[in-house]
């Protein structure tokens, strides 16, 4: 089973990377960008026996830092 874990910074947490990307895009001449936030995509290939609870635990214990990040689990196939 292919699983995608989307990790993003919580609202209110400063994102210097996103800000730098924002700057670069504007420097390239793209207009109308209100905000840029950079996250992380982690793809896992897991056995079908791996439960939702286990996936959730992987996210909370390692893949995301719950102090600063949110995560979303997406099952691809």
């Amino acid at each position: 089973m292919k699983v995608r874990v989307h990790v993003s910074l919580k609202n209110g947490v400063l994102d210097p990377q996103g800000r730098a990307i924002h700057h670069a895009l504007e420097g390239m001449g793209f207009a109308g960008i209100n905000d840029v936030r950079a996250g992380r995509l982690i793809e896992l290939d897991v056995a079908s026996t791996v439960t939702d609870e286990a996936l959730d635990e992987m996210c909370r214990k390692l893949l995301a830092n719950m102090v600063i990040e949110n995560y979303r689990i997406e099952k691809v196939a």
Binding site: V13, L14, P16, Q17, A20, K61, L62, L63, N65, V67, I68
Partner: protein
């Protein structure tokens, strides 16, 4: 009995030797070098130090993988027993990732790696780590980090300040840290994490010795004579 300490080495640690030398020289004690894959710490430890570096290449998040290494279960248990634990730079990141300290260290606000001496203000002298300083004392200690931007929610920051758990603050903004926090202490008072490197400021040949007092404070507080 002589002061007994352990310095943990993770894959990618690079300040572990400096830390061991500083502890040995200042306390006259025994320093055990412990590998991250070990399951147990030596017996009778007074002090555990998590050094700076780039454990696991800072992959995923700085300190994230190291915080889940086998030895950290033993460090967490030792901290719960009251053993003094110091995390410097990457060691601070590991301590927050392990849940031993509140908050997180984000990428520096200016995006740049910062490597220079910084002025700090001592936030409290009422801790086992800072007993040899006086409150509001200005000291100079170097930083060398990319992810030193301390973040915690407002409620946590208020509590840290209210309980005298901000050990050090940057005297001027350095990396975007909330309330200029450079080092914090846990609720029980026996775990300190800080971004500046006290082990790099222990003798005049290094440009100053303001970091020396931290190790002397621990030695005095733990109550073992060298």
């Amino acid at each position: 009995m002589a002061f007994t300490a352990a310095v943990i080495t993770f894959p990618g640690s690079n300040c572990d030797r400096d830390m061991a030398v500083a502890i040995e020289e200042i306390t006259g004690g025994t320093v055990h070098r412990v590998w991250h894959g070990d399951a147990a710490l030596p017996d009778g430890l007074d002090f555990i130090a998590l050094p700076g570096g780039f454990s696991y290449g800072d992959y995923l998040r700085s300190g994230a993988m190291a915080a889940r290494s086998p030895i950290m279960q033993a460090v967490i248990a030792a901290a719960a027993r009251g053993v003094a634990v110091l995390g410097v730079c990457n060691g601070f990141q590991v301590l927050t990732e392990a849940g031993l300290l509140p908050g997180a260290l984000l990428r520096n606000a200016g995006q740049r790696f910062i490597c220079r001496n910084v002025s700090l203000t001592v936030g409290t002298s009422q801790s086992i780590f800072t007993g040899g300083y006086f409150k509001d004392q200005k000291i100079v200690i170097p930083v060398a980090h990319h992810d030193g931007n301390y973040y915690a929610d407002a409620e946590t920051l208020d509590r840290l300040e209210g309980e005298g758990r901000v050990a050090f603050r940057y005297a001027e903004p350095v990396n975007g840290s909330q309330r200029d926090i450079a080092g914090v202490i846990n609720e029980a008072g026996n775990v300190l994490g800080m971004m500046p490197h006290p082990e790099r400021m222990i003798e005049d040949a290094q440009g100053g010795s303001d970091g020396r007092i931290l190790f002397e404070s621990v030695l005095r507080a733990v109550g073992v004579s060298a």
